[in-house]
Amino acid sequence: MNAITPIEPADLNALEDEAFRLHIRAWIEANYPAEIRNPPKRLHWEENKSWYFKLAEKGWLCPGWPREFGGLGLSPTKQIIFTEELERWGCARSNDHGIIMLGPLLIRYGSAEQQQHFLPKILSGEHIWCQGYSEPNSGSDLASLRTSAVLDGDEYVVNGQKIWTTLAQDANWIFLLVRTDPAAKKQEGISFLLVDMNTPGITVRPIINLEMHDEFCEVFFDNVRVPRANLVGQLNKGWDMAKALLSFERIYLGSPRQSAYALTRLRQLAERMGVWEDAVFGQEYARHRADLADLKSLYGRYVEVLKRGQPLGADVSQLKIIQSELFQRITETMMAIAAENAGLMEPMEGNRNLNPAGLYIQARPTSIYGGTNEIQRNIIAKNVLELP
């Protein structure tokens, strides 16, 4: 049950932006479990579900979904405020692939039956989704994926392997990009399939990463039979559907929140290490500080695009590069001032705000996941700079 039940307006969209912000903020602060603020690692479902259910019960799980599908139907501006408030309070990202990725895709491309069947189960927490896109030999070149789905009667038979599947061990459903036409050109033989993780033939194997965390998994498919009705959209058109959702990811990965969090930790570490007043550290900190402020200004310009309901262009990839590399630089400064403490596995003195190595390691893959920064630079070169 929610700790506070303020008087809820019938339509949150009707609130002034600032009033809306304070309304959201108050509820988050009253309801978010203190013990999982700013978690150092991505949380598992068991750690996270109480918050998921709180949001679900409140009806705030899916701020961006239209009201007729059980969402809050917030305007773009208010969705952004909602996200900002979650980030401000250091709320953990929940098991949100159903909320962020699959829901919007089904709303846009799914059949009425699929919408009626799956969306309520996301809202209730009955279905927890994960995303099966990357494969061992298809990372940057995702469109070369080879996991196959072959129609056999009224079922697709799926064989292959996915990798880097976030929190697959917590999910009971997975949405997949599969190859349904091996003869077609790369992007043109790919379809979008919904698969119950309890189907025989699926094996999940967690991957331990440099954080010693099992956030990512490999998922193996050995003659997994999937009802034909679980195909979303048109056969062999899965690529375009999946791609249409990626601009969300690019702005999400460009959010200044990681760098802002790290900069605060850097200050705390500098104070602990006695270098806060040091001139050399000071100018390095000032540089990070200005870099972050300028990133926030640039991020705000893309948020403005969203607020006006316009599509994000390829240039949003700039944010992802700038944010990930700033996050990395901040953590590199942390490592330098931490000196011998830089090697420690656990936070210093049991204070999780003093965890240089943890943040440093956490920052490493930000230039790899979500499309490596090399791929982002290719995208900008071709699509923004229009180089040949």
Binding site: A260, A293, D294, L298, V305, R377, E386
Partner: protein
């Protein structure tokens, strides 16, 4: 090239007003004009100066009741950006600064000449390099006065007290600068006190406008560089197809995007911290972008005849003007409270 970097946080009215000012600068975009004026004395065109007066630019930030255009830093930055594209050598930003100060002090006669482009009033505010502080010694030699040879009058702040001096009563020596202009060292003659003004606040605006000028220059030099990458061939290929050059081009784009974000946000709300952050970014970015553009242009980029080098030369002069990156970054840092990030 698409120069998309999101949308400026301006109202529709502001955006429209900025666009009109931009359009009015169309006649000053030709770099050949700036090139021809290099090394001349006083280094800029008297005709162009009068035209700038007629367009209302010199008084852009002066209230309408004082004879100015009564516009804001949004329009000023838009204008400065266009002048940066054309590398216009006229001392518009220094004189916009002087006009603000004259207006604030209540001086009207010289202000009117200045706004009309008939006078050139330069504010000699600094007595040494690498400072943001206004000189407080009336007798001190003033340094780094841009385009000093063209001054008709000199405005001498002593703290917030302003003295107006005829240029011919000052002893002025000049040193040539890489952009084809010059900087003056000035021993002030006797002038008259004309009142007081918030000199530091006006300098913030001059710094921000200079950041915008640098931004325009960066974008133009960068556009030339992209065009070169799109045409030059080596090894049987357009060199813009080489991934290493593509990525260097992207890395040159990023500081430009950050500069635009910082400048346009500051233009809307020109607090001292915002102005400093924008100038710090622009000063640093202009050097990086200039260097990279020269590098990406290869041998031709190192010739004086090729315009890309002119943008780098301008950056060398304007990056430190009204305070360089380190000074402004430190001031931004001092002025900005810690955020409450969790």
């Amino acid at each position: 090239m698409s120069s998309a970097a999101g949308i400026a946080p301006w109202s529709d009215d502001q955006a429209e007003s900025a666009r009109m000012v931009r359009d009015s600068a169309a006649g000053f975009l030709d770099v050949a004009r700036a090139r021809a004026l290099r090394g001349t004395m006083p280094g800029f065109s008297a005709d162009a100066w009068r035209e700038m007066g007629a367009l209302g630019w010199i008084g852009l930030l002066v209230p309408e009741e004082a004879g100015g255009s009564g516009l804001s830093m949004v329009e000023m930055c838009a204008l400065a950006e266009e002048l940066g594209r054309g590398l216009a050598p006229e001392p518009l930003i220094p004189c916009v600064l002087s006009a603000m100060l004259l207006a604030e002090a209540g001086e009207r006669e010289v202000l009117a000449q200045l706004l009309a482009g008939e006078a050139v009033v330069l504010t000699a505010w600094q007595d040494r390099a690498n400072t943001l502080a206004v000189c407080t010694d009336a007798a001190a030699t003033r340094r780094f006065v841009p385009m000093a040879a063209g001054a008709t009058h000199v405005l001498l702040p002593v703290g917030d007290a302003l003295h107006l001096v005829n240029a011919r009563d000052c002893e002025i020596t000049t040193e040539a600068t890489h952009d084809g202009g010059h900087l003056g060292t000035l021993r002030p003659g006797a002038g008259r006190a004309i009142g007081r003004a918030d000199v530091a606040a006006a300098l913030d605006r001059a710094a921000l406008a200079t950041a915008a000028y640098l931004l325009g220059g960066m974008e133009s030099g960068y556009a030339m560089t992209l065009a070169y990458l799109n045409t030059r061939q080596q090894f049987g290929k357009i060199i813009g197809t080489f991934q290493a050059l593509q990525h260097k081009a992207v890395d040159t784009k990023l500081p430009i995007a950050l500069t635009r974000a910082a400048v346009e946000e500051a233009a809307m709300d020109p607090t001292r911290a915002a102005c400093s952050r924008a100038k710090a970014r622009a000063s640093e970015a202009a050097m990086i972008v200039g260097q990279n553009c020269v590098q990406l242009s290869g041998g031709i980029g190192y010739t004086d005849q090729y315009d890309v080098g002119l943008y780098l030369r301008k950056a060398m002069v304007l990056a430190p003007a009204f305070g360089g990156a380190a000074l402004h970054r430190a001031r931004f840092m001092d002025l900005t409270p810690e955020t409450e990030d969790a």
